[in-house]
Symmetry: C2
Subunit: 514 residues, 2 copies
């Protein structure tokens, strides 16, 4: 159980509900107490709905993050329900050794495996034209997003992705591929994931159908997994297995061998820079005091918006095409880490975890922004924009769109300000305003910057989980459905089998009688 | 102002909060009063959280849809704030004539333009290798989604899309294109949309840079627009302008010439089948009595979930790869149509419009489903699955996943049922259940079926807007931000200009001083 929040916060929330953001800007135009700079990212939270007094009281919550934060970096089992340490910060730690977990120096092992990955990647360009990553969830979203974010290195293979059971997806990924020149990465922490194993089989079949000799088929596969023995049993050569560790959660695994597609697509230096950016934020998170600690600030603002102001969702809105999959990545990171209610003792707590959604912000301005501006519910927005050339007409216009939307969300447009067309009531033009946002203004979309951005969100997620008293690193809620679906698949084949579940009888009868 | 809802509905909501869905299934296993079939789509809403008594009372709200529904099909100005009829049903009406609006027989005009589009499309295959659609919002999402949903016809050009101001997006769309063989469609209702006009300029520049003769550049452009004169002024030949009409809203425009990319990609027959499926649902919506009317049922269930049970969001979860952009399409349709509060008189009402979000359901099962299953807020789900071959291992497994997830969301998993691992408290394994869903089980992803599905959601959206007393066809909330961004773009260039808006001064100072 976390300590109760200071009582004053509820009173601030009540008070601030009556004060428009415009007034806060007018009263104290210096809102810089909500702005920070970190690793070339300007974080502007001045449009959040709070004042300096509230911020001072929120800061008192920050100390709750100890001792979990120390434990995180020390390799202690902060993933208590699974009795595991949390090792993704270790994956980007440049020290060659010195973090001993369960008697093993995990840093030494990390660097040894990283070296293997590097050597393998360097041998690939000459051998493979196309690489297809078969993985789902954490084994898919991270590398997929980063391959979109970074340019393809000269001579790099064409890296593609397929995740789901729908055969059309793998077919699309294989379109135009030369089987002799195609490598598959089987990315699966447990090496039992149903989707990935079935796509692995389908890929073997495809290679055989395309005329690859039976004795050569398995040479077209590498594995990135924490279950190295299982991968070997299935026939993947130990030389082509790149391990990661139980303590690396799927949604935190892009820093491990799961990042292999990124190495192949963007090159080794890009991957190293990615790790370096994340490590710089690790150091900041570990060392900066609360009032200047950026992940802590953002976690406190999440607490403010969701626990105190009652926002049910938050929107992630990138303006850059290269960051188009970032909303899906952060959606997984935050909804899988926070969408739960059991505390350490298993008691269900009130946890105000939001639905995280979003998408291309420029497209959104012609679509779902209608609800952001004039809907009844206020949706906190994280807007991300990078790489601006003010001399380029389109880039300047894009930046202007971003800033004007955030201003309008915050400031609104009053009855007195609107200029209705003839015959239209003014109410249709009113924007209520007071919709909070945080702007992430990035100097560029370089690997180092993106590494910093992702680590930032990881630590925000960790911190708010501590405030809410839940474990950000387990995911019991996605496990049972997978088991249930296996017995259902059997029932779909065997019309005498009873219907599993409680609500499916009529539907199964219908499907079986087709 | 709509009539008030029957008082009994609030009482039902209170009563049903205490009754688990499991109990409803156990008490009256026949939940078929919430199941319907339409145009090869089995709509199974049995997992919605209500009983027959509640349904009977909800049905009393249905009559409120008149007279707006009659007006819609009669071409009356149901888009009252813009004083326009709503013509998208007319676009799929097979009658060659007979709907006169403002003295013009709109059906005759629709068919004349459709014939022009057909002839143009048939001339394209031999001439163009690549077609790039430049449009945003409604001029992008519909055709983009349908080009993904339908297979490419033999000999059809490669149809691509670019929507936003980020130059990287257009660059990516043009990657590998032969300029001589590339046609651009400028899709813009007003022909003033900033993104589209700037991309239009960039495309002209690209053609010139690629060596297309100045006199031939404009032959590489066609326009789909309601502003035909403006398109001509900018230099597009009248023969290559395919009009639609003011009464066709952007998000309802894929049935018009905005669907040209679909015709080019999938062929004319596919487009006709798309229209036929939608028209069949139009007829159903217009004629079926309330208790068997599928769009009305779905609208009443939205009312139930959002106005009475208080759900803040709804998730659209397709299981098929070909339907991966459907969530974005329905997000625009519903959030732009419903995300507003002003009634006909301009008075602000309580409108419980949800955030609509979602994505690939199979991917979601390894990511955001955690919150759906164990988060505090209950998110109503629309699950869509099509084209099932139970003999195919992967397709069978995919169907099993879909059904088991919906069952688990509804039924939950109690303390008594869980089997905790040693040392883990049972609370971590508990699923609260009672998360409502509607399953759309489609016989296939044929154009006719998809046409029916989209028309279904259009009429759901229209109906609930009537229940909520708002206009589903305007979008005042996305207009002012566009104006504001133009003055901001100027301020970014001119460091002496004052900062527009109320919250941007510090940020502008920073950007200008770089």
């Amino acid at each position: 159980m976390p300590a109760p929040y200071p009582e004053s916060l509820s009173l601030h929330a009540e008070r601030l509900r009556e004060i428009p953001l415009r007034t806060l800007f007018a009263e104290s135009r210096d809102r810089s107490f909500l702005c920070r700079d970190i690793e070339g990212i300007h974080v502007d939270a001045s449009r959040q709905r709070l004042d300096a007094e509230t911020w001072a009281d929120l800061l008192r919550v920050a100390e709750q993050v100890e001792p979990a934060r120390s434990d995180l970096f020390a390799g202690a089992p902060v993933n208590a329900t699974e009795n595991r340490p949390v090792l993704h910060p270790a994956l980007r730690d440049p020290r060659p050794e010195g973090l001993v977990v369960d008697g093993v120096d995990i840093l030494a092992e990390v660097h040894r495996q990283r070296q293997r990955m590097r050597e393998f990647a360097e041998s690939c360009a000459a051998r493979w034209q196309t690489v297809v990553n078969l993985g789902i969830g954490g084994s898919d979203l991270g590398p997929r997003m980063l391959c979109e974010a970074f340019p393809r290195a000269p001579g790099a293979p064409d890296v593609r992705f397929a995740s789901t059971l729908d055969p059309e997806e793998l077919n699309a990924a294989l379109h135009g591929c030369d089987a002799d020149q195609t490598l598959f990465i089987i990315a699966s922490k447990t090496f039992t994931t149903e989707e990935t194993q079935r796509n692995f089989s389908a890929a073997r079949q495809w290679l055989a159908d395309q005329g690859v000799e039976p004795g050569e088929v398995m040479e077209h596969f590498v594995a990135t997994t924490a279950a190295t023995e299982r991968a070997q049993e299935i026939g993947i050569d130990a030389q082509r297995i790149f391990p990661f560790w139980d303590g690396v959660g799927g949604r935190y695994s892009v820093w491990s061998s799961v990042g292999l597609p990124v190495v192949l697509h963007a090159g080794w230096d890009a991957f190293e820079q990615l790790l370096a950016g994340a490590h710089a934020v690790d150091e900041h998170f570990r060392e900066a005091k609360a009032e200047s600690n950026v992940p802590l600030m953002l976690a406190l603002l999440m607490l403010w918006n969701h626990t105190f102001l009652g926002a049910a969702t938050r929107a992630v809105l990138p303006y850059n095409y290269r960051l188009r999959t970032l909303p899906r990545f952060l959606q997984q990171l935050q909804m899988e880490s926070l969408g739960k209610r059991a505390d350490a003792e298993g008691n269900l707590q009130d946890v105000a975890a939001p639905v995280v959604w979003g998408g291309s912000a420029n497209d959104g301005a012609h679509a779902f922004f209608q609800l952001l501006h004039q809907g009844e519910q206020a949706v906190p927005v994280d807007a991300i924009i990078a790489k601006l050339d003010l001399e380029d007409e389109r880039e300047r216009a894009l930046l202007a769109q971003c800033l004007s939307q955030l201003d309008l969300l915050a400031s609104g447009r009053t009855f007195g300000e609107v200029e209705p067309a003839a015959g239209v009531a003014a109410g249709h033009y009113v924007h209520p305003g007071d919709r909070p946002s945080t702007l992430f203004l990035m100097e560029d979309i370089s690997p180092r910057r993106i590494g910093a951005l992702l680590a930032l969100f990881e630590h925000v997620t960790f911190s708010i989980a501590v405030f809410w008293g839940i474990n950000a690193f387990d995911q019991f809620g996605v496990e049972y459905g997978k088991r249930l679906s296996r017995s259902l698949a059997e029932a779909l084949q065997d019309s005498a089998a009873p219907a599993p579940g409680h609500t499916l009888k009529a539907l199964l009868d219908r499907l079986r009688n087709r």
